[in-house]
């Protein structure tokens, strides 16, 4: 079916061509700039530590380690196994501290409390502390992201 008059004027068509190409041209600059200004922060998938540093930990003792840019917390339970947490409060990202005498983790920013398993029990934190998996392989002590998430 041939229309009597075009739906688009020649002027509009050409202007749109120009604008479209100019936009595409500009877009080729936007993407790299965005990537440059917003660099991705990658958390490590695993961290390798020396087993000798941690094998003599007593139950209820806590030691820190570096999990990328965040503090990690290694806690030895009563039965000798290790629990690894990302030592960052789930409320607003302050670093938490372990109070051995109360067997609780405490966040000083807004009075948040977690029990010895990392579960949030009091205060504003909405979720438990993030858990990480641990594994001992010979001389090395690995702390890894949990399998379910990987």
């Amino acid at each position: 079916m041939k229309l009597k008059q075009s739906l688009i004027t020649r002027r509009n068509f050409l202007n749109s061509l120009f604008g479209g190409w100019a936009a595409a041209f500009a877009a080729t600059f936007i993407s790299p700039i965005v990537k440059f200004a917003w660099p991705p922060y990658k958390e490590p998938d695993e961290v390798k530590l020396l087993w000798t540093d941690y094998k003599d930990m007593k139950p209820n003792e806590v030691k820190g380690f570096a999990w990328g840019a965040k503090p990690g917390i290694l806690k030895r339970s009563a039965d000798g196994s290790f629990i690894a947490f990302v030592g960052v409060c789930t409320h607003l990202d302050c670093n938490v501290v372990y109070r051995p005498e109360q067997k609780k983790f405490f966040c000083a920013c807004h009075d948040g409390w977690y029990d010895e398993e990392g579960k949030n029990i009091q205060g504003p934190p909405p979720k438990p502390l993030r858990r990480l998996d641990t594994a001992v392989e010979g001389e090395d002590f690995f702390v890894r992201k949990p399998e379910a998430k990987a």
């Binding site: 050409l14 061509l17 120009f18 190409w21 100019a22 595409a24 041209f25 080729t28 993407s31 790299p32 990537k35 660099p39 991705p40």
Partner: protein, 163 residues
């Protein structure tokens, strides 16, 4: 004038084929800066770990380099190389200058695609802009948008574009 435009496009496309890098003197294969730096850096570490560094290089370095792996047109441009090890931190003190160079054929081709895209876009945009300029000139000569108190009454008409 049309010949000029065709010539422009031809030059742009052929630029993609001419190895410009040969003119620039930057060969991607030559300074393998990464390996030398890695070996020197490894030599600085206690001897027990010397064996690790070359082994660490067996892992393809492309994965961990965040330098533009997205297949956008200018996204895979050559990245600077230094003694950056894939699986561990780079040596604390750099021992080699950083020279920007291509890592693989993908980067090399991406640069040529970028050149073609850049100059093609500029050519197309200039083409349209010329039309706009011609129109603006004609509109002005026809005194189409004259306000009442125009100071243009005594203006001799300027030459049209291309005259």
């Amino acid at each position: 004038m049309r010949k000029l435009w065709f010539g422009f496009l031809l030059v742009t496309v052929s630029l993609a084929l001419v190895p410009l890098e040969a003119i620039a003197g930057q060969e991607g294969t030559a300074p393998n800066v990464k390996d030398k730096a890695q070996i020197e850096a490894a030599a600085a570490l206690p001897s027990g770990r010397t064996g690790e560094s070359p082994a660490a290089q067996a892992a393809p370095p492309q994965d961990v380099k965040p330098a533009g792996e997205v297949p956008a047109k200018p996204g895979a441009l050559p990245s600077g190389r230094a003694g950056a090890a894939p699986a561990k931190k780079p040596p604390a003190i750099r021992t080699e200058p950083i020279v920007p160079a291509y890592q693989n054929i993908k980067e090399r081709s991406a640069v040529r695609v970028f050149y073609v895209w850049l100059w093609l876009s500029i050519g197309v945009l200039l083409y349209f802009l010329r039309w706009w300029v011609q129109e603006a000139d004609r509109v002005y000569r026809a005194k189409f948008y004259e306000p009442v108190e125009s100071p243009r009454k005594d203006n001799p008409l300027p030459p049209l574009l291309g005259e």
